[in-house]
């Protein structure tokens, strides 16, 4: 382990140079948390890496030697399953001069050779060799010449996380009450798992927290997604489609929002849907092939078709794991900050894997339908949110009017309930989840954990 001072040479560190209590109030936050490049830089260590951060999904690296490249904050990372099957998160940064050693998005590699001077590393991160070593007086067995790596990498049911905080609680303890919610999301699938497939990849010119704030926000739906709600119901066939349960009195509906600690929150819209197989499919908006494949599945599976069709429909939950993993519908959405005012939001599709043939040979039809359903929200919903995020970023340029309110529900008697485990539950449009997340954010920013890296020895 090596102690790190990531911003060495800077005159002050961010934790001490900002008055965090002045920026995050009980009912509102200051514009600068979305606009200040120094706060953004501090987040890239205090939060991204300072706390458990989602890196990749195990289905992206099914075999030993498989890798994907990603970022942890702004650090280039290779997530690799090494020769012994251990999942590692290597810094994609040659120990020699700093060039990235891997430039592919994904692949399989036993070694990574830096294209610049040819230093070569095993996929454990250990240096395998350098060209013309007799030109060096040093001992290349010294661990400092191995690739740096994230010291703590753990998975929960296929979701791979990493943190540079050696003192962090175990991932499962960190997830706490989120873990059984992830279980429910997975366990409706055959074998209790999914496989990532391609993604709808979007970008907006705005701060990453604007998307995180949005991810359990039931207040915006009727307004930001008005065109989607109208579109999905334009043909007036059968039940009201999609998120129509937001239209009239969403706070009176059985859906709810929860805050579950450590910045994690959960929007559960399942109680709006009748608890019987097929009810979810009945509110699925139109998508290509749906009538044909539905008829085929019903012919093939009879009554069992209802469960198969529900797997094609968008699961009505938002499972938001701070700071960057948003499991919603059938998507695994990953937030990637690029700059204080630029964020990538990648909506990975998930496919059903049915090794035990629970779906009686119908898995291909299910996935065909599921791919088309997956394309719906990124095309007709997220694009409008993303533009609203950009317009917030523009609005926040008004320096003299600095406050961003998130006090919906605050101090309203009987509206917000906290159970014995500290889980907070509120009506669908409440902003309590945002307020609690910012308390957590403030704690991390005010006293960031000491970070370490590790190298093979």
């Amino acid at each position: 382990m090596e102690d790190l001072k990531p911003r060495a040479g800077r005159p002050t560190d961010a934790a001490a140079s900002f008055d965090w209590d002045a920026l995050v109030h009980d009912d509102r936050v200051h514009r600068t948390i979305y606009t200040d490049p120094d706060i953004f830089a501090a987040e890239m260590t205090a939060i991204f890496g300072g706390t458990w951060t989602y890196l990749a999904h195990e289905s992206q690296i099914p075999e030993n030697h498989d890798f994907v490249t990603t970022l942890l904050g702004l650090r280039p990372i290779i997530v690799v399953r090494d020769a012994a099957g251990v999942i590692r998160a290597l810094f994609n940064r040659c120990a020699h001069r700093g060039a990235t050693v891997c430039r592919a998005a994904a692949g399989s590699a036993r070694v990574f050779q830096c294209p610049y001077h040819g230093w070569t590393y095993f996929n454990t991160g250990k240096l395998s060799g350098v060209p013309w070593p007799d030109g060096y007086a040093c001992d290349f067995d010294d661990a400092k010449y191995n690739l740096a790596q994230v010291p703590r990498v753990e998975s929960y049911r296929g979701f791979i996380f990493g943190t540079l905080n050696p003192d962090a609680a175990s991932l499962v303890d960190h997830l706490g009450p989120m873990a059984p919610i992830i279980d429910q999301w997975l366990d409706r699938h055959p074998g209790g798992r999914v496989r990532l497939c391609e993604a709808n990849r979007l970008k907006y010119k705005g701060n990453w927290k604007l998307a995180y704030d949005n991810s359990a926000d039931g207040y915006h739906v009727k307004f930001s997604h008005r065109s989607l709600l109208e579109m999905e119901n334009r043909l007036k066939v059968g039940n009201q489609k999609g998120m129509s349960f937001y239209k009239d009195a969403p706070d009176d509906a059985p859906m709810y929002v929860q805050y579950l600690g450590n910045g994690n929150h959960f929007k559960d819209k399942r109680p709006n849907i009748e608890p019987r197989p097929g009810a979810l499919w009945e509110i699925e908006g139109p998508h290509p092939g749906m009538e044909h494949f539905e008829e085929r599945l019903r012919e093939r599976l009879g009554e069992a078709a209802a469960r198969a069709l529900d797997l094609c429909a968008s699961e009505p939950v938002n499972i938001n794991i701070f700071p960057n993993l948003l499991i919603l519908g059938n998507h695994i959405q990953v937030l990637q900050p690029r700059a204080v005012d630029e964020t990538d939001t990648t909506w990975y599709g998930t496919a059903v894997v049915d090794d035990a043939n629970e779906l009686d040979g119908a898995v291909d039809d299910v996935n065909t339908l599921r791919m088309r359903a997956l394309e719906s929200f990124p095309n007709f919903g997220e694009v409008d949110d993303a533009v609203n995020f950009e317009e917030i970023q523009r609005g926040l340029m008004a320096e003299e009017d600095p406050w961003v309110y998130m006090h919906r529900g605050l101090d309203v008697p009987g509206r917000v309930k906290t159970d014995e485990n500290g889980v907070i539950t509120a009506p669908a449009t409440d902003e309590v989840f945002m307020r609690e997340t910012f308390k957590h954010w403030k704690r991390l920013m005010a006293s960031p954990p000491k970070l370490t890296i590790q190298r093979e020895t």
Binding site: S227, M231, H287, D344
Partner: protein
């Protein structure tokens, strides 16, 4: 069934056979020996694509929809080449109904990603028709460069299209339009405008 289902209301034509044909038709079709040297055909294909570009640039989406066959597809793959859309998501893969959904949504006035709407100028070049082995059906490759201005900013989108066209009288109708964006596998800012 007494009459064929209306593809504007239900989607019965997007079947496994449809996907099989799609993947087959859009794999390895740009062969030198399939290029059609008929100057008249090339000129009429170019005129057709130029008219399509003009309708889109002028936001005449209802007229643009009429360029398509009843059972049609508008496809923007998320990976170079497009893969098999039964196994991966696309940037979009719209059948007739969803394409009309897309146009409807923009016309609501509440599709914030298009408020204000994009202004575009598109250049369509390098038009090459290819034979398909089926009488009256052609593949046409063309390159595009779209300059898009929206909300105070300009950007360029480049790529190429594969149109699968059917000869109808003196003109064509679009069976499939595949849009191959150069940045198809990258994070795209506001891809809400029709390409």
């Amino acid at each position: 069934m007494s009459s064929a289902p209306d593809p504007k209301r239900t989607s019965h034509y997007v079947t496994d056979a449809f996907y099989d044909a799609l993947v087959r038709d859009f794999t390895d079709w740009q062969k030198d020996d399939a290029v059609l040297g008929d100057v008249g055909l090339r000129d009429s294909a170019r005129a057709f694509l130029e008219r399509e570009a003009r309708l889109l640039d002028r936001h005449l989406f209802a007229d643009w929809l009429e360029l398509f066959a009843g059972e049609c597809l508008y496809w923007v793959p998320a990976t170079p080449g497009g893969g098999d859309p039964r196994r991966e998501v696309a940037v979009c893969l719209d059948d007739r109904r969803r394409l009309e959904d897309r146009v409807f949504r923009m016309a609501t006035g509440f599709a914030w990603s298009q408020v204000p709407e994009s202004r575009t100028v598109r250049l369509v070049t390098n038009v090459e028709p290819f034979a398909t082995g089926t009488e009256g059906i052609f593949m046409v490759r063309s390159n595009f460069l779209i300059n898009e201005f929206r909300a105070g900013e300009s950007r360029s989108l480049a790529g190429w299209c594969g149109h699968r066209l059917r000869r109808v009288g003196d003109g064509f109708e679009i069976l499939v339009k595949q849009v191959n964006l150069m940045e198809c596998d990258q994070n795209l800012r506001n891809p809400s405008n029709i390409i």
